[in-house]
Amino acid sequence: MMEFSPQHLLLWSLALPLIGAGLICLLNDGRPQRARTIALVTTLLTLLVAGRVAFMFPANGINLESTGGAFALTDASWLGKISGLDVRFSVGLDGLSVWFYALSALLSFCCVLLSWESIHERPATFYSLLLMLLCGMMGVFAARDILLFYVFFEFTLIPLYFLIGIWGHEDRNYAATKFFLFTLTGSVLTFLGLLTVVLVNFSHTGDLTFSIPKLTAALGPVGGHPMPLHLQLWIFAALTAGFAIKVPLFPLHTWLPLAHTQAPAAGSVLLAGVLLKLGTYGFARFNLPLAPEATAWLLPALLWISVAGIIYGALVALAQTDMKRLIAYSSVSHLGFCMLGLFALTPLAVQGGMLQAVNHGLSTGGLFAIMGMIHDRYHTREISALGGLARRTPWMALFMVFFTFSSIGLPGLNGFAGEFLLLAGMFQRAWMTTGPGGLGLKVIAVLAVSGVVLGAWYMLWLVQRVFFGPLREPHGTGHGHGSHDELGHDLKQPDRPLVRDLSLREIGALVPLAVFIFWIGLCPQFFLSRMAPALQEATQPAAAAWQARQTNEAADRQTALNPRPSVPVVAETSP
C-alpha cells in the first residue's frame, strides 16, 4: 500500500465499497454468510485505506497551499465541456472533511459487525446497500465540486431509505417515507441555492464553474465579488432549508426521532453518526463562507435556534420511554451544541463544534449500537421493560457506561474536549459582544451550559434505569412489554434460555469507537490541528462580518447615546 499516493488511496476508498457491493450482488446465494463476509472485508479494507489517507493528512495545513487547501486532490472532467456545464469529478479532502470521511469508514465497519446476526432477511441487499451508503457518505465529504457534492448528498438518501424501509421496525414504511421526503424537500431548495451561487459567480467572472473552492474564493470577501446582503440572505435561506433539516435544527427535527427509532441498528448508527453531520458540514462548507454577511445578520437568531434545540432535545429526551427515541432526542440536543459552536464563530468554538460533531458520531454511534444489541436480545426498546442488565451482561454495561460518559462529556473522554472548547468559545463570543446583543448571547451561553447538565441527567438516568437496580427483563418473545416483539427478527428462537453477554464480534464493533473516544479525549490536539486551518478559513469571513456589524452598531449606539459629537457634523452638512 505504500506505493500508492494519497490521491489513489482516496479514489480506492471510494471505489472499494462499490466493488464490494457489486461482488455481493454477483455472488449472492441468499444466505447471509457470504454477503456479510464480503461486506466485512470490504469495510475493513476501506477503513484501512481511509485511515491511511486520514493519517497522511498534514497538520496545520502544511504543504496544502499548492492545491488550495485540498489533500489527495483528483480532478477530472465528468460531463465534459461539450454539455455546457463543466461538472467535474473532483474529490479531495481538507480539514473540514477529513475526520468525517474517516468516521464514515469507521462506523460502517462497526455497522457490518453489528448487523452480523440481526439481519436474516435479504442479507445481500442489506450489505450492498450498506456499502453503497458508505460510498455515498465518503463521497459527499470528499467532493470538491458542487454538483458532485449534491449527487452524493442525495445519493445517501436512497440506500438509507431502503435500509430503514426494509429492515426497520414496526412503523418502518412511514418512517422511511417521512425521512426521505423531509430531507429531499429541504435539499432541493439547497440545490437551488447552490445553483444560484454558481450562476452569480458566472455572472461576475464569466466562469461557469462548479468547483467549491473556486466559488468560495471568488464570492468570499477576498475574492472581490461578495454578494449583496439581500442575495446572501436568500441564498443562506435556501441552503439552510436543506442543511437545517439534515442537522436537524430545532423546529425541523420531527423526522429524526421517527427515523432513528424505526431504523435497524446499523441505520441508526450511520444516520446519527454520519448523515446528521452532513448538515453541520454543509453549514461550515457553504453557508458560512458563501454568505458571511447573512450569517452575521442572522447570528443571534441562529444561536437562539441552536440553544433551543439543546434545551428542547434534552427535555424531550427526559420524557421518553423508548431507549432509541431517547438517544434520538439526545442527538437533537447534541447537534444543537455543534451548531452553537459553529455559529459562535470564535476559533475555539468552531473547532469545538466540529470536533463535537465527530464526537457525537462516535459516542452516539456507540450508544445506538448498544441499543441494537439490546434489541437483538430482548426485542424491545422500552426502558420500563428492562432493568439491572449489568448483572446479566456486564460487558455491555461497561461499554454503555463508557459511551454515556463520552456523551455527557466526562473529562478525559472526547465529549469533554468538544463541549469545553465550544462552550468556552461561546462565552468568549458572549463577553466580546457589547451592548444589548451581548446580554442575549450571555443568556444563550448559560442556557447551553444548563443543556450539558440536562444531558448528564437523562443519560445517566437511562443507564441507571436499564442497567442497574434489580434485574428485569421480558420473558420469552411472546409477552414482552410493549408489542414490538411480533415484528422482531428472531422469531425462529421461541425461547431464549439465557441472554448472553457481548460476543467477541460485538466487542470488536465497539472497541474501535472506544479507542477513538479515548484518543480524542486525551489528545484532541492531534485532531484539532488538522481541522483548524480549514475551519479558520471557512469561518473567518463570517466572524469578520459579525465584528464589522458590532463595530457599526457600537458606533450607532455611540451616536445615539451622546449625540453631541455628531451635532456639529449635522449642522455643517444640513444647510
Partner: protein, 552 residues
C-alpha cells in the same frame, strides 16, 4: 434532385411503412400469431440502418458550412435527424413491450400500427411544411386510435379509446385551425416563408403579429392535448387507466415527443412575431401543469392513473425549457445589441429536449415493467398489487425503482441531469448576465422554486410505488405474465437510464446540437443553403457542435 433527395430522406419511413404493410397483409393470411414482433423489430432496425446513412449527408452539409437543408416538404437538420433516432428507439421499446389481449401475443395490426406511428413521428420531425406537419401528426393519431381500440376489449378500454378519439379530433381541429392562420399570414405552407414574413419588415397590416399569435395559441392548444398540458390534460388519467400498459406507454411518449417537436418547429418560425406571449404562455402552463399533475398524482391508487398524472407533471417541467428559449432574445431575433448570455436561449431548448428523452425512456421502461408484472388480459391495476414484488421479482423491482428514482430526479440518475439542466437554465435567466427586463427574470426564479418543490412532491408518489414493492409483505403474487418482450424492454430502458445517468455527456451533446438546429427555422425549399440566409439576420454562422453558455 429535389424529388430524389426527399425520397432518400424519407427512405427510413418508407421502410417502416413497407414493413407495416407486409405485416398487415401477412396478418390477414395467417391463422395463428406469426413472428410479427420480430418482423417489427427487424423493420425498425433496417430503418435505423438506412437512417444512419444520413450521417454522410450531414458531413456533406457541414463541408459547406450548412447545418440544415430543405428538399421539398422535408428537410435535413439535426433536430429531425436526432428525433428520428429517438423515434426509432421509442419504437423498439414499444414493439418489444406490446402485448395482446390474451396470451397469444399482439395482433399483427397492433405491430403494424406501431410502425406507422413511428414513421409518423419521424415524418413530423423532418417536415418543414404545415400541411405535412399536420399529416404527420395525424399519422401518429390515427394508428393511436386503432391501438387504443385494440388494446383492451373491456368497457373501460373502449371508453378510453373513444375518449381519446374525440379529444384528439378536437386537438387536431385546433391545430389545423391554428395552421390555417399561420398559412394566412405567410401565404405559404412552408415554415421558412412564415419566418421570413414574421422576421421581415413590418407590413402595412399591423395586425399580422396578432394573427401569428392567435395561430400559435391555437397550435399550442391543439398540441397541448398531445403533450398533456394542464387545461387539456383531463383525458390522460382516464385513458391511461382504461387501456393496456403498452398503449399507455405509447401515449406517454410518442404524442409528447411529436407535440414538442412540432411546437418547436412552429415556434421557431413564428418567433419574431410572438413577442412576450410565447414565454409567458409556456411559463404559466408549466407552473399549472407540473403543480396540478404532481398534486393530483398524490391521491391516485391505480398505477397507470398515477403515471398519467406523473406524465402530465413532466410535461410541465419541460415547458420551462421552452419558456427559457422563448424568453431570452436570440441574437438573430433581438438584433438590438443587448448582451445576452451566449447560447442561453438555445440551451433552454436543449434542456427541454434532453428532458424529453430522459423522461420518455424512463416512462417507457416503467410501463414495460408494469406490463411485465401483469397479465395480458388483466394488467396490474393498483399500487398495492405491487406489494412484495421486490422478493418475487427482484430484477424487475430494481429496474422499476430505478425508473421511479430517475423520474423523481434523484441524483445521480438521468432524471436529475434533466431537471438540473432545466433549472439551471431557468435560473440563468435571472442570475446570468442577460439583458432581459427584471419583470421577466423574477418569474423564472419563482418558477425554479416551484419546480424543485414539485420535484419533492413528486418523490412522494414515486416512493409509494417503491415502498409497495420493497416494504410491504407479499400477498397474492402478481401474475408476471407479460412475456419476454416486456422484460427485454424493461432491461433495455434500464440500461439506457443507467447509461444516461453515469455518462450523460453524449445525450446532452445530442440535445445541444438538436436544439441548435431546431432553434432557428428550417431553410426555405428554394434555398438549401440555410445558414447564410439566416446570417443576414444577424445570426452568426455557427458550426454545429460548439455552443452553450459555458463555451465562452
Amino acid at each position: 434532385m429535389t424529388t430524389a433527395t426527399s425520397i432518400q430522406l424519407l427512405a427510413p419511413q418508407c421502410v417502416l411503412v413497407f414493413t407495416a404493410i407486409v405485416i398487415f397483409v401477412g396478418g390477414a393470411f395467417s391463422e395463428g400469431r406469426g413472428p410479427w414482433k420480430q418482423l417489427g423489430i427487424f423493420g425498425l432496425v433496417m430503418s435505423g440502418l438506412i437512417l444512419a446513412q444520413h450521417q454522410r449527408a450531414f458531413e456533406t452539409l457541414l463541408q459547406h458550412n450548412e447545418v440544415a437543408a430543405t428538399f421539398g416538404p422535408v428537410s435535413l437538420d439535426l433536430l429531425g435527424y436526432l428525433a428520428s433516432w429517438l423515434a426509432l428507439g421509442v419504437g423498439v421499446l414499444l414493439v418489444l413491450q406490446v402485448t395482446g389481449t390474451d396470451a397469444r401475443g399482439p395482433a399483427p395490426e397492433v405491430i403494424g400500427s406501431l410502425l406507422l406511428l413511428v414513421a409518423g413521428l419521424m415524418l413530423a420531425a423532418q417536415a418543414n411544411d404545415l400541411v405535412l406537419l399536420f399529416l404527420a401528426l395525424e399519422l401518429i393519431s390515427i394508428p393511436t386510435y386503432v391501438l387504443l381500440a385494440l388494446a383492451r376489449p373491456t368497457p373501460a378500454g373502449r371508453e378510453a379509446a373513444l375518449k381519446y378519439f374525440f379529444l384528439s379530433i378536437l386537438s387536431s381541429g385546433l391545430t389545423l385551425y391554428g395552421f390555417s392562420f399561420l398559412y394566412g399570414v405567410a401565404g405559404s405552407t412552408q415554415l421558412a416563408d412564415l419566418y421570413s414574413v414574421a422576421a421581415g419588415p413590418l407590413h402595412a397590416f399591423t395586425s399580422l403579429p396578432l394573427l401569428v399569435r392567435l395561430g400559435v395559441l391555437l397550435v399550442v392548444a391543439g398540441l397541448g392535448m398531445k403533450i398533456a398540458i394542464v387545461p387539456l390534460h383531463f383525458y390522460a388519467p382516464d385513458v391511461y387507466q382504461g387501456t393496456s400498459p403498452a398503449a399507455a406507454a405509447m401515449l406517454s411518449a410518442v404524442p409528447k415527443i411529436a407535440g414538442v417537436i412540432v411546437l418547436v418547429r412552429v415556434a421557431a418560425a413564428a418567433r419574431p412575431d410572438l413577442g412576450e406571449l410565447g414565454w409567458k404562455l409556456m411559463l404559466g402552463l408549466s407552473v399549472i401543469t407540473m403543480t396540478l399533475g404532481n398534486v393530483l398524482a398524490l391521491w391516485q391508487r391505480n398505477v397507470r392513473r398515477l403515471l398519467a398524472y406523473s406524465s402530465i407533471a413532466h410535461a410541465g417541467y419541460l415547458l420551462i425549457g421552452l419558456a427559457v428559449w422563448l424568453a431570452v432574445p436570440d441574437k438573430s431575433v433581438a438584433g438590438s445589441g443587448h448582451p445576452v448570455t451566449p447560447g442561453l436561449a438555445v440551451s433552454g431548448l436543449s434542456a427541454a429536449l434532453f428532458y424529453l428523452v430522459v423522461y420518455s425512456v424512463a416512462s417507457l421502461g416503467t410501463f414495460a415493467a408494469i406490463g411485465y408484472l401483469g397479465r395480458p388480459d388483466r394488467p396490474l391495476d393498483t399500487v398495492s398489487e405491487l406489494a412484495g414484488v421486490a422478493s418475487s421479482h427482484p430484477a424487475i423491482a430494481a429496474a422499476l425503482a430505478l425508473f421511479m428514482f430517475s423520474l423523481a430526479g434523484l441524483p445521480p440518475l438521468a432524471g436529475f441531469w434533466g431537471k438540473l439542466m432545466l433549472i439551471i437554465r431557468a435560473l440563468s435567466v435571472d442570475v446570468g448576465p442577460s439583458a432581459i427586463s427584471p419583470g421577466v427574470r423574477h418569474w423564472f426564479i419563482v418558477v425554479s422554486v416551484i419546480a424543485v418543490l414539485n420535484a419533492a412532491i413528486s418523490a412522494a408518489y414515486y416512493l409509494r410505488i417503491i415502498g409497495a414493492m420493497y416494504f410491504r409483505p407479499q400477498h397474492g403474487a402478481p401474475a408476471a405474465d407479460g412475456g419476454l418482450g416486456t422484460k427485454l424492454a424493461t432491461g433495455l430502458a434500464a440500461v439506457l437510464v443507467v447509461g444516461m445517468s453515469l455518462y450523460a455527456g453524449p445525450a446532452l451533446h445530442g440535445s445541444d446540437v438538436a436544439a441548435e438546429s431546431g432553434a432557428v427555422p428550417l431553410p426555405a425549399a428554394a434555398t438549401p443553403r440555410a445558414r447564410p440566409a439566416v446570417a443576414q439576420n444577424g445570426q452568426p454562422s455557427v458550426a454545429v457542435p460548439q455552443l452553450s453558455a459555458a463555451s465562452r
